[in-house]
């Protein structure tokens, strides 16, 4: 059976085409949501075509069944008409009936399978587009949006869109054909009875339209509620150490209950709405059937209709019963697709605020100089709060610049501007005279490595984590970076060495080990600008000193920025900037700053005087 399966006609996606899919998905900007989903379906014309044809044939065959049954009944009664060929006719009808059933089954299978397959192909393309978008959206966007919300878009909303073809569009086709062809058939056979048989349709149509609207809005609110709920749970689990440290379990359960109860109430409302509409639809159908029975019976009584014809009328109605029952699902699918689709496409249509400009050029490194020119900056999420107010400095290849300053003074923000994680709001950041905003992001980010202050480690082994920026690195290279970062010995002491998995976000490492892994990761690269953002805060002085030692040769070829609170880390720098309130308050070499006797000096005194003096001074 499996081999047979693999020969079913479908075109397996080829990896090389992945980007084309992404562009195609993004191209429908501005179109109506449902139409846009439909267009995505049409990207698979063969499969969608087979599906629609199969749907039409299957429903045609479905319609043939009542006819045949009606005939059979009439033939069986044929003895009244005195026909001797009745028996042969029965055989013939039976065979046709069998054939029709088999064919109907086959086509239904094709219809179901290809309907689903089309959806899965669409989902595959949407997944790629969502992933690509996530990877390209700026830090500014990710600052504002909770990860859980993005996961909802990428999973639930995507599913809603995926199912639309099979549970929405195809049901419309199926129902349309059954009703359309059926009504022609019925109306030509007997106009009055036909009208009665179809009398439920307008009611159902009206009901679906109205309940679709209501369901849609409940869907939206419910989705939001569930999102809140998962946010509460996710934060709880992510911050479980804090929860435990403060015995916050009861408090967390309260938080959970508040959100959960609201969501539950809404879920109940949704059930109400759904049941109200489906039950009424079903009843209207049964009433039509009753009318057919009453008036049809009357006709049979008066001899204007055969029992067989009436049978085929009634059978036809039973065939309709399934799709009518599914109407509720169909309505649901429309509501879901349009809500989910709205959100999904809104996400996919987001403009990238940090992206290559149309005329972006690759970075050309000549003498390797980094320049900040009167840089001003505010975070996009708090535009009115100036974080940097005029930062200017220059650093040449081989130079090291140290940055110190109180928390929140803007040190990390300076680092963020170099690889263009954010864009400046005033002034310029230049590398060899080229404004970073005019460069292609790829070349820029390959030339700038930032060891970020709060490092993120991936749930994979140490080797993959170190090689994150250069996945084709060789083992020796990885080991060497680890050695430079003073991590190699620790790793070699582990039973599984570089293959050891670090746990989520590196939980199974100590704070200092995490930081050193983070440093090793950056040392794999060969950037023109290297930034260490407070990256040895959790490392002891001895280890730190050795890291610094090995870094010396590394720094020779590039600009190095060291942000640190520990002055021993940066006092050897060519220039030290003391940043306060987003501006450079003091600037110079270690010796110059000491001589200046300002804030840097105060810091130095605090860190270098013997502890006895300090405890007295603190008195």
């Amino acid at each position: 059976m499996p081999q047979m399966f693999d020969r079913w006609p479908h075109r397996a996606p080829r990896p090389g085409e992945a980007m084309a899919h992404v562009r195609a998905v993004e191209s429908g900007k501005g179109l109506g949501t449902l139409w846009r989903i439909f267009r995505l379906t049409l990207r698979h014309p063969v499969m969608a075509g087979i599906t629609i044809v199969a749907t039409i044939i299957a429903s045609g065959l479905q319609l043939a069944v009542p006819r045949l049954l009606g005939e059979a009944v009439d033939q069986a009664e044929g003895v009244l008409a005195g026909g001797t060929g009745a028996s042969a006719a029965l055989w013939q009808t039976a065979l046709v009936l069998l054939g029709v059933s088999v064919a109907r089954g086959l086509f239904t299978m094709l219809h179901n399978y290809f309907g689903e397959a089309t959806g899965h192909h669409t989902a595959y393309e949407l997944r790629l587009a969502v992933y690509e978008k996530i990877q390209r959206l700026s830090f500014g966007y990710h600052d504002k949006v909770h990860t859980g919300d993005l996961i909802t878009v990428g999973m639930l909303d995507l599913d809603g869109v995926r199912m639309f073809f099979a549970t929405g569009i195809l049901r419309v086709v199926l129902l349309g054909i059954l009703l359309g062809a059926g009504s022609v058939m019925l109306l030509t056979t007997d106009p009055l009875l036909g009208l009665l048989a179809l009398s439920f349709a307008p009611f159902v149509a009206w009901r679906s339209a109205t309940s679709q609207l209501e369901l849609r809005s409940t869907w939206l609110t419910l989705q939001d509620m569930l999102q809140n709920l998962s946010r509460v749970m996710e934060e709880n689990l992510g911050g479980i150490r804090v929860v435990r440290a403060f015995a916050g379990e009861a408090h967390e359960l309260d938080k959970f209950d508040t959100v959960s109860d609201k969501a539950l109430a809404l879920a109940h409302t949704r059930v109400d709405l759904r049941v109200n509409s489906t039950a009424a639809m079903n009843l209207s159908f049964l009433i039509s059937m009753g009318l057919v029975l009453a008036f049809g019976g009357e006709k049979v009584l008066s001899g204007t209709m055969s029992v067989g014809t009436l049978t085929s009328f009634l059978t036809f109605m039973t065939i309709l019963q399934m799709p009518v029952r599914q109407l509720g699902l169909m309505v649901n699918s429309f509501a879901r697709a349009s809500t989910c689709g709205d959100r999904l496409f809104d996400f996919l249509d987001l403009d990238l605020d940090i992206a290559d400009r149309p005329d972006a050029k690759p970075l050309v490194i000549t003498d390797g100089t980094l320049t900040f020119e009167a840089v001003q900056f505010a975070y996009p999420s708090a535009p009115e709060r100036a974080v940097l107010t005029g930062i200017s400095f220059t650093a040449r290849r081989g130079e090291t610049v140290g940055i110190v300053g109180p928390p929140g003074s803007g040190k990390s923000s300076i680092a963020h501007l170099i690889p263009r994680f954010y864009d400046v709001t005033g002034g310029r950041v230049l590398i060899d005279g080229q404004d970073v905003r005019t460069l292609t992001l790829d070349t820029l980010r390959q030339a700038v490595a930032v060891v970020q202050q709060d490092s993120f480690l991936f749930t994979t082994n140490i080797e993959n984590n170190i090689a994150y920026g250069d996945p084709w690195a060789k083992e020796q290279q990885i080991a060497r970076s680890a050695e430079f970062a003073q991590l190699h010995n620790y790793v070699m002491g582990l039973p599984t060495g570089y293959q050891t998995i670090v746990g989520e976000r590196g939980v199974s490492l100590s704070g200092g080990q995490r930081q050193r892994l983070n440093i090793a990761r950056a040392l794999m690269l060969d950037p023109a600008v290297m930034v260490f953002d407070d990256s040895t805060a959790a490392v002891d002085a001895g280890t730190e000193q050795r890291i610094r030692q090995s870094m010396k040769q590394f720094a020779a070829n590039r600009v190095t920025l060291i942000i640190s609170h520990r002055l021993s880390s940066l006092m050897h720098a060519n220039r030290i900037l003391f940043v306060e309130g987003g501006a450079i308050a003091e600037e110079g070499t270690h010796a110059q700053l000491l001589a200046l006797g300002g804030r840097y000096r105060a810091l130095y005194d605090l860190q270098s005087r013997a502890s006895e003096d300090q405890s007295e001074a603190a008195e």
């Binding site: 009944v73 403060f246 959970f256 996945p471 989520e504 080990q513």
Partner: protein, 639 residues
């Protein structure tokens, strides 16, 4: 890196060698984390959640039965109408027939009325009860996760738990909503069989001769189909896991310019997922033509055999019509039961995953009769020959003993990875020691309630974690009833007040996920303030000021001096200036205490502490030699 020979990887070789890269977690399959134990009583366990809604269930089963009976009755009514209500040709027979027809129509009206009411009640009751059950289950899981040990949480990714809490719970919904319907389907199935046999035993038997074929086919179909469904499920979670990772690690991805490699890897995962789903869909659909062919076979049989019987006047034509009706409906319940079966399968695998969460062993629980540490607890902390390891093969603490007297402030220093944070985790009983005992206030931590331990110890963790919410809510986290004044006082003590008031909404400014809109130092200050608000007897500071400048730190220390009065302090720091206020210093190395005493004593000893101390203050250029490196350790013993 600097060595150009190493760097020179040509693209050709790149193409040949796979990258050292994956997207999505590399953790072992989660079954191993949760223990494979498939609980055959999943159904019973889930039933326990349905228990409270037993009444609703009864009502809905009753409604479903009524509903099914009316469904079953409708063809019979039609049959009656045809056989007795429709005698064409006028005359008295026709007249009585007409009366019969009227009554039948009235009966029909009644039946569909009942049908409507029953289906309404059933769907409403079941729908709501199902939602209740789902929310109850989720809550039970969440409550359980509040109790499981941290060693379990360390091994388990948040995303995987979330997929159980949301995904698997939602997957149960379909099952719960439709399982009552399958009761109806079963009744319908047996009802139809019964009615057919009653209407005409012979014809009934012949008609149903196709049934065994169906069962045999299903027997062969089921095992591979089931496997394909499971594969699709796994491929899907792998795919979603990779997505979640992409979202969480996006800053690192962009910073290291890994987008392209990740995209290709993700494409591969998505493609695997797609193919697995296509395969599962094929298995699901291949049954359709089989069922339909069998339906056709049965109908053909009725037409031929039944038709002959009608021809020979052995059967009313109405019965034949009823047969045809029933056969059409006969396969409906079979079909929906088949569908229901795969829903059931899926629900059971989700159910198992839910039960697994509910059954995670609680490695750390309150003993029966555990004492609660009261306000009168003296605040002493004692390590009595403690050994500990996260994994059996790697000891982290070896035979550690020390005592912190009430009111004393003790500093713990040592090279990175030496076990300082682990010590603090043991004080709070995040983990249980493997040997020895940790005593707080004179009680073994295993004999006191977790809750009272939590309120007696306030911690500033090495990694500051903030919740989404306002600054105020975050500082108040440890004490939900803390006043605004207390919160502001704590913020002032750690020097956070100044920056908080400059935020857009001051204390009511919203903190984004994990504190992303604050600088790391600011996050640390808030997490520090949070610990102060807790107003606990013992204060544990694990690198609480590592990301804060020395000047701010000095201000904090001044404030702390007052706040620590009468409290016990445990302080970890790498910057030795941080521990200047400590009464005593403990030096840890490789999980062992190598020095213990006050600053003067330790300096006089000339050991590791003295070495670190001088290093801290000496210029970076005169690197002292002799700080060796032995494998597994970060800083070797002083020579």
């Amino acid at each position: 890196m600097t060595d150009s020979a190493l760097e020179d990887i040509d693209t050709e070789e790149k193409a040949r060698r796979p990258p050292k890269a994956v997207v999505g977690s590399s953790l072992d399959r989660e079954e191993e984390v949760f223990g494979k134990a498939y609980d055959p009583r999943v159904v019973r366990r889930i039933w326990a959640f349905v228990g409270p809604y037993r009444k609703n269930l009864l009502v809905s089963v009753a409604a479903v039965i009524i509903f099914t009976l009316t469904q079953l009755a409708i063809p019979l009514v039609i049959r009656h109408a045809i056989d007795h209500g429709m005698v064409p040709g006028g005359g008295s027979a026709s007249a009585t027939a007409r009366t019969t027809l009227y009554w039948v129509i009235v009966g029909y009206g009644l039946i569909i009325g009942v049908n409507f009411a029953a289906s309404y009640v059933q769907e409403l009751v079941v729908g709501k009860a199902a939602e209740n059950v789902l929310f109850d289950m989720r809550r039970a899981m969440f409550a359980r996760l509040q109790q499981v040990s941290l060693s379990f949480m360390d091994k388990t990714e948040v995303g995987r738990l979330m997929s159980r809490l949301m995904g698997d719970v939602n997957a149960m919904q379909e099952f719960l909503e439709t399982s009552v319907l399958s009761v109806g389907d079963l009744i319908l199935l047996f009802g139809i069989i019964g009615v057919l046999l009653w209407l005409d035993p012979l014809l009934g038997l012949i008609t149903m001769a196709t049934m065994p074929v169906l069962f045999i086919v299903r027997l062969f179909w089921l095992p591979p189909a089931k496997k394909s469904f499971m594969d699709a499920h796994h491929a899907n979670s792998a795919n979603n896991g990779a997505l979640a990772e992409g979202i969480n690690g996006v800053r690192t991805v962009q910073s290291l310019d890994r987008q392209r490699v990740n995209f290709d890897l993700y494409e591969e995962k998505s493609r695997t997922n797609l193919l697995a789903h296509l395969r599962a869909a094929k298995f699901a659909q291949v049954m359709v033509p089989i069922v339909d062919s069998l339906t056709g076979m049965s109908m053909a049989t009725v037409v031929v055999v039944g038709g002959q019987m009608v021809l020979h006047r052995q059967l009313d034509v109405g019965i034949m019509v009823a047969f045809l009706f029933y056969i059409q409906r006969f396969f409906d319940p079979i079909r929906s039961l088949t569908m229901q079966y795969s829903v059931f399968q899926r629900a059971m695998s989700s159910g198992t995953r839910i039960i697994e969460v509910l059954d995670v062993p609680l490695a750390i629980t309150d003993k029966p009769g555990a004492v609660a540490l009261g306000a009168d607890m003296d605040g002493s902390v004692e390590f009595d020959h403690v050994s500990f390891g996260y994994r059996k093969d790697i000891p982290v603490l070896k035979n550690v003993s020390f005592r912190v007297n009430p009111g004393e402030t003790v500093a713990v220093v040592g090279p990175t990875g030496s076990g300082k944070s682990s010590c603090m985790a043991l004080v709070h009983r995040f983990y249980d020691v493997t040997e020895g005992a940790v005593r707080v206030g004179g009680h073994d931590v295993r004999d006191v309630t977790g809750n009272s331990l939590g309120t007696s110890i306030a911690m500033v963790l090495q990694e500051p974690f903030l919740f989404t919410g306002t600054v105020f809510e975050n500082i108040r986290y440890a004490k939900a009833d803390a006043t605004r004044e207390a919160v502001i006082a704590a913020a002032k003590a750690v020097g956070a007040h100044e920056f908080i008031v400059t935020l857009a909404d001051g204390y009511d400014t919203r903190i984004e996920q994990r504190g992303g809109n604050l600088s790391l130092g600011q996050r640390q200050l808030i997490s520090f303030a949070r610990a102060l608000v807790a107003d606990a007897k013992i204060l544990v500071l694990d690198e609480a000021t590592a990301n804060i400048d020395s000047y701010t730190e000095m201000l904090i220390q001044k404030a702390l001096k007052r706040l620590l009065e009468g409290r016990t302090g445990l302080v970890i720091a790498h910057r030795l200036a941080t521990i200047r206020g400590a009464d005593r210093i403990i030096v840890l190395q490789n999980g062992e205490i190598i020095e213990n005493g006050n600053h003067t004593e330790l300096m006089a000893q000339g050991g590791l502490y003295a070495k670190l101390y001088t290093m801290n203050y000496s210029s970076f250029d005169d690197l002292p030699t002799g700080i060796g490196t032995n494998p597994g350790a970060d800083v070797g013993k002083a020579t």
